[in-house]
Symmetry: C2
Subunit: 446 residues, 2 copies
């Protein structure tokens, strides 16, 4: 069974290799050579022993959830759900697949990661890559210009999985979006407030929310772009000056005062769109101050987000190395345990709905997506730690722990109990007020 | 836009036609002719007007849920979830797609309805067709021999959609299954009790739960099979006697007494497996009597279920024409509104897990699947009816209705209120005991 699985794995790797060469338009000889290796591998499985050996596994990059894991997942969902509802959002649902053309031209580079369904003689379909594009399609289709909605569902990406770090090919996104024409930056600030509330409530360690604006990035790169391009073409490298200049901006981090300073910056202020972005960031921070979340939010000029559809403010919630992420890492000892990373992201996408509307009517939108898998990995390790918190625990200290953490029932199964064929069930201490009721309950049971 | 959609629809139909001919291995000429029609249709879209016209729709047989619909869906889920939990089930989750070979050979005829993913150079994957096969794969993979679990998730079938009757290509199944070796018919009876509880609690009209046993069916058809076969070969039709005999059995309906009678039946008792089935049915009914659900359960020899993997008891929950299904139909007037049908189904599948285990170790399983879509269609029409229950309602009768049905707040916006620019908010009558608290609350608000 193990050998078979290894060959299957090798076939997969080899298959990817062939696909890569084809996409790179490698020479026919090179492709043929790799294809023949692939066929040899496949033949090994075929020759095997005549009997069909079944590979018992889930698809690459996916996982099952057992009941214990489901309980943790539900807890995380409830926290997120509670926050979304508190902020007045309704929920919708959309199908797991969309017409392929609905997803076309929305994700830039990342489009190659979209799962397509086989053409079985009907429509050409793809699994959804996120919940944002289906949401925009939904708005355009139903001519909705105004909604605050959340959507918690699975999305699909043919990415290189790194499951120990919580990166999967099937994973949940928890999206909250505000569509409609409102006063500038108020919905945007609410999205950041939501990230702040959820990451605080989940209690998974310290975090930061990085904020930037697509237009500042665009403006920054537009400034010396002609020179950059010349340099790149002629020497395949940035000139030192330009690199320094971009590097200088990109290393900047701060709050409202940084936005103010950059608005005074001579080079920066030459770009209209960069100024628009900076003005919005400034306004945003004034709302964030009112919302009392500026202790975790940082204006970070190095933040960029891959998706094509963002038009203004962008942001990302990251866990910082301190806190529980690190604790979990230490307690399990393994280096490949949960690593710190992005657990939330989003931004403003004012053009996306218009791409679906027959008349191109725009609906301004801003939203945020909470990625559950990394959070879940941390929570899971935390729960694990609950069980193995001591290597050689004394009974008394275990009982003390239960009392401290409110665990109401303890089953004790020691040597004596094994010998007697019983289990000692110890209830936690109860308050004086509850004593009579408890005794009554106990005696009526008997 | 409409023409484009019509052509798209025609392309789809024509595509299915070509696929059908190919699967039937029709003559090359015939296939070529239909393919050329298909290409002509596709060319029409290409020629269009140069501009790419986007078709704004969800995939065939799928739907979005708006917030109002989600609220109804959640209500249905909560009822089902509550029942599953009450019966002590844990929950698991599995990926939306499985390795194609995991699904192979499990569904017989219906396998052609499985959605395959495109081969993008990795594993061959298919969307799950039900939750039962992934559950069996999960049990085998984790060597679990004992679990009571529920799983509420979407499944996928390339079936002919009939969406007005609640038949979709993407739809929810709410599954409850018991795996493990237990005394005969006790888990089976619990599954039927669950269907009974859920259909009662949902309050969607009268229902019946039909029960049969795969082995009775097999035994019945085994009995005169040689003759049947001879007849079918020589004359392509059943002999009148055999047809009568099978017809006679198949029309039988009853309870425990029918099982007893059939056990005495000379022809029936010749088949060992039919007798085993009848004995189990008899035992099952004795538990159903204890559970007090025999008023809705009927032993029906005509019941057959398509899926290959059933090995014993099978059952199906159907809504009967009376009750709300019919009411909804009358109130909306349209004939194509919700039609009555199967809303739950299941049975015993003792061999499925063994198909996944490398050593073929079996885990006996029995389960039930509640189909939410038809139930949801009815609930949705019911909610609709709540609003338009009278064409020309008098105010007093509306208030009476609110009082009767426990609606606590009524907003009144009549001609006078419009003139005054106010809305009258009327609270429902409250009990004497609550009066003081209510007055205190009201006055402290002001």
């Amino acid at each position: 069974m193990a050998d078979k699985a290894q060959i299957q794995e090798a076939i997969e790797v080899q298959g990817e290799e062939v696909r890569k060469l084809k996409s790179e338009k490698a020479s026919k000889e090179q492709i043929d050579e790799e294809v023949s290796k692939l066929l040899q591998l496949k033949a090994q499985i075929g020759e095997d022993d005549g009997k069909h050996q079944f590979v018992l596994k889930t698809a690459k990059g996916t996982r099952d959830y057992n009941p214990k894991q489901m309980a943790i997942r539900e807890k995380v969902f409830n926290t997120i759900l509670g926050c979304f509802k508190r902020h007045g959002a309704e929920t919708i649902d959309t199908p797991v697949f969309e017409l392929k053309e609905t997803l076309t031209g929305k994700y830039g580079e990342d489009s190659k990661l979209i799962y397509d369904l086989k053409d079985q003689g009907g429509e050409l379909l793809s699994l959804r890559y996120d919940l944002t594009v289906p949401f925009a399609r939904y708005l355009a289709m139903n001519k909705i210009t105004n909604i605050k909605r959340y959507h918690i569902a699975k999305v699909y990406r043919r990415d290189n999985p790194a499951m120990t770090r919580g990166r999967y090919r099937e994973f949940y996104q928890c999206d909250f979006d505000i569509a409609g024409q409102y006063d500038a930056m108020i919905p945007d600030a609410e999205c950041l407030k939501i990230v702040y509330e959820i990451l605080s409530e989940l209690d998974i360690g310290d975090f930061r929310i990085k904020v930037n604006d697509r237009r500042i990035l665009d403006g920054m790169f537009a400034m010396p772009w002609k020179e950059v391009r010349k340099e790149m073409v002629s020497e395949k490298g940035l000139s030192e000056e330009v690199a320094d200049q971009i590097g200088e901006y990109v290393s900047l981090q701060g709050g409202m005062e940084l936005a103010e300073r950059l608005l005074q910056d001579q080079k920066m202020s030459q770009s209209k769109q960069a100024c628009a972005g900076l003005t919005d960031i400034k306004l945003l921070f004034s709302y964030l101050q009112l919302f009392q979340v500026t202790d975790k939010v940082v204006f970070d000029l190095s933040l960029a987000r891959g998706l094509d559809y963002y038009t203004g403010i962008i942001y990302e919630g990251v866990l910082t190395q301190t806190g529980i992420a690190a604790e979990a890492q230490n307690s399990s000892g393994a280096e490949e345990s949960v690593s710190v990373g992005s657990v939330a992201g989003g931004g403003r996408y004012d053009g996306l709905v218009g791409m679906f509307d027959p008349k191109g009517r725009k609906v301004p939108c801003v939203g945020v997506s909470i990625g559950i898998e990394r959070i879940f990995s941390i929570m899971e390790q935390k729960a694990e730690a609950e069980v193995m918190y001591k290597k050689n625990p004394k009974l008394l200290s275990q009982l003390q722990y239960c009392e401290d953490s409110g665990i109401p029932l303890v089953a004790i199964l020691g040597e004596q109990e094994l010998k007697d064929g019983v289990v000692k069930l110890r209830t936690a201490d109860i308050s004086r007020a509850d004593l009579i009721a408890e005794i009554k309950r106990k005696t009526s049971e008997a």
